[in-house]
């Protein structure tokens, strides 16, 4: 193990002659939490195609517009007809627009994580001060924020419109608040499910298809079963069936606790007791998604 120091460098010599062209960096190094925040903002911007090619801006921007246009029309109608109330509840809007939301998460979750996996950029992140958990949190928070922007924006349009139409302020504010809580939970849940699926499908196309399939097939199956159960008179089974798809989970939770009218057959949502199960299921799923993502990235390593 003969280990000399390089012949060109006399040991202990403290001087070093730099090529004039190279400048060293002596400024601040902001470390791990700054890096995590940078990853968050880069991912959030990326979820709307900002900082990426024109092509990748088209779909997220289009979906954002599609989310907001119906709200704008409703508001225009309400103001013009001097209606007593908005045509839909704040809590109902996301349920109606669920296809758009599913499409958004299906397109942007793979964009956010599959690219890094597919092009093996992940090891570069982990060769820097951030840890696995920082990466997962930044990505999760960014997609959930992007979805919150997507789902809360039309509610803001509705709320502003309602105030312009001079609808009851207290009533509207309460409904708006309930709507925001509901879409916040929806954003966390959808983003988590989308990211977990995308993180195991490095091929982006498969990721998109898989997320759409999980969101729509589960909703289709659950609402069909609920309709059958309702038609056969076993309406007590309806709320329990609703536990098995993301959309109906949010629907059930908000009809139990956020003053929403359920979209379940017969418009009967879960009771308060059943609602607790919904809350636990939603929170449990969010935690499970986070845990699965952590496990996934622990394995990626380098």
């Amino acid at each position: 193990m003969a280990v000399e120091h390089p012949v060109t460098v006399p040991s202990g010599d403290q001087t070093r002659i730099h090529n004039i062209g190279y400048r060293t960096y002596d400024g601040p190094r902001l470390g791990r939490s700054y890096a995590t925040r940078s990853l968050y903002s880069q991912s959030l911007r990326g979820a709307y195609g900002l900082g990426r090619s024109v092509k990748s801006k088209v779909l997220p921007m289009l979906l954002f517009v599609v989310m907001c246009v119906p709200a704008a029309i409703m508001v225009a109608v309400a103001v013009a007809t001097k209606a007593k109330d908005l045509p839909v509840d704040y809590t109902r809007y996301a349920i109606i627009m669920q296809a758009v939301i599913s499409l958004y998460v299906a397109s942007q979750a793979p964009q956010s994580v599959s690219r890094d996996l597919r092009f093996k950029t992940v090891p570069l992140y982990f060769s820097r001060p951030i840890e696995t958990a920082d990466y997962v949190r930044a990505k999760y928070a960014a997609l959930a924020s992007a979805m919150f922007i997507l789902t809360a924006a039309p509610l803001i349009v509705l709320y502003v419109g309602a105030l312009l139409a001079k609808l009851d302020f207290a009533d509207q504010t309460k409904g708006f608040g309930q709507g925001l809580v509901s879409v916040a939970l929806l954003s966390l849940l959808f983003a988590g499910i989308g990211l977990v699926i995308a993180s195991v499908t490095p091929r982006r196309g498969f990721g998109i298809a898989a997320v759409i399939a999980v969101m729509t097939i589960s909703y289709g199956a659950v609402s069909t079963l609920q309709a059958i159960a309702d038609a056969q008179g076993s309406s007590s089974a309806v709320p329990w069936i609703g536990l098995f798809s993301p959309v109906t989970l949010i629907d059930g939770l908000q009809s139990a606790f956020l003053g929403a009218n359920s979209a379940f057959p017969g418009a009967v949502g879960p009771s308060n007791g059943e609602g607790v199960v919904y809350v636990l299921a939603v929170l449990g799923l969010i935690a499970a998604c986070y845990g699965l993502l952590m496990r996934r990235y622990k394995k990626v390593g380098l």
């Binding site: 902001l30 791990r32 880069q42 093996k120 060769s127």
Partner: protein, 366 residues
């Protein structure tokens, strides 16, 4: 001869660097968390490992490896699967060692990984670039991931891309770049935060001869012009001879040799002698060795881990007489002299894997 597996801390106290002793207690106890930017030249040890082992369920990737690497450009050479990448992952604090310990820039890899990763750069061996963003955007983002504030990240990205030789093309999406340009972007992201040390994992992989020479020149400049120490891996010994101050050779996770490149390539007074066997002397080599010993000419110990060394006698020529002595001894024994030549040490001698030797030959021929 090179002792492998010897305790690191003993070897540090060599007559060559007596002042090392004074630094040891600080570096040993692993509490040097407050290390600020120390120029690499002043640092005595950039990388130190002690009985470092990494065992995977089915293979031992590193086997009690003790190393002490100073500033400069150090080559880590070994065949595919020798454990080079595993070593880098451990040094980055990303993969725990099964046994032993390692320090990078005086920081313990087991407990101070984040601090290490702030001060070092890493260029992976595989592709790692997203095709749909420009080099500038990508490197700026990676600079921020290393903790550089936005303005500094942009300035240093522009500088670094220029230093690695990317100009107008840096605004175009990476997807359209040649392999050589991609390698430069990978190098730029490893250098953008002005680290004290960079790990370059097989940076010449996939490059044509010209591209490889450019890359090797660039690697040399990283130390001589930028003052950043380099640990560069390769499965080709030949290419690192010119670039590195040191070469560390590992094989099957074991240290084969660690030495300054000047040692490797010096012309020596060593004679290589190869003889035939006869019925009278079924082991001709051995017979010659004994006969030479009787005539007072010592054959160098060939247990240096060199493959095939058993059939070649190496001895130090004391002058013209030595040639005569060898000739006489071989003739007296009735053996055939296959060759007798003055040797130039060549680092590929320590290469063990035939497959890799073949690859190297291809590399040299191109």
């Amino acid at each position: 001869m090179w002792k492998t597996g010897a305790a690191l801390w003993d070897l540090r106290v060599t007559p060559r660097c007596p002042y090392l002793w004074s630094l040891m207690p600080m570096q040993l106890c692993g509490v040097t968390t407050g290390v600020v930017r120390v120029t690499t030249v002043g640092d005595v040890t950039v990388i130190a490992t002690e009985s470092l082992s990494k065992r995977f369920p089915r293979v031992t990737a590193l086997d009690r490896l003790s190393l002490d690497v100073g500033p400069g450009v150090t080559g880590l050479v070994g065949a595919n699967g020798a454990g080079k990448s595993t070593m880098i992952k451990i040094l980055l604090g990303l993969s725990p060692a099964s046994e032993g310990r390692a320090e990078v820039l005086g920081l313990d890899v087991a407990t101070e990984g984040a601090a290490i990763r702030e001060r070092v750069g890493y260029m992976p061996e595989h592709d790692c670039l997203p095709p749909d963003v420009s080099a500038t955007e990508f490197v700026v983002h990676m600079a921020r991931m290393s903790g550089l504030p936005p303005t500094a990240a942009r300035e240093r990205t522009a500088d670094t891309l220029r230093h690695v030789g990317l100009y107008e093309e840096r605004y175009r999406p990476i997807g359209g770049y040649s392999t050589g340009m991609k390698q430069r972007v990978k190098l730029a992201q490893a250098l953008v935060h002005d680290p004290q040390l960079v790990f370059l994992d097989e940076p010449t992989n996939g490059l044509d001869p010209v591209g490889r020479d450019d890359m090797l020149g660039l690697i040399r400049r990283i130390y001589t012009d930028f003052g950043i120490s380099v640990l560069v891996t390769s499965h080709l010994l030949g290419e690192l001879e010119r670039t590195c101050d040191h070469v560390v050779v590992i094989d099957g996770g074991k240290l084969l040799r660690s030495s300054s490149t000047t040692d490797f390539t010096q012309t020596t007074a060593t004679l290589a002698v190869e003889v035939t066997d006869t019925d009278a002397h079924p082991d001709g080599t051995r017979a010659v060795r004994e006969a030479l010993h009787a005539r007072g000419v010592e054959v160098l110990d060939s247990q240096s881990g060199l493959p095939g060394a058993g059939h070649i006698l190496l001895l130090t020529a004391q002058g013209e007489e030595t040639y005569d002595v060898v000739r006489d001894v071989v003739a007296d024994l009735g053996l055939g002299l296959v060759r007798m030549e003055q040797r130039r040490h060549h680092i590929s001698e320590v290469f063990t894997n035939e497959d890799e030797q073949r690859k190297e030959a291809v590399g040299h021929g191109s």
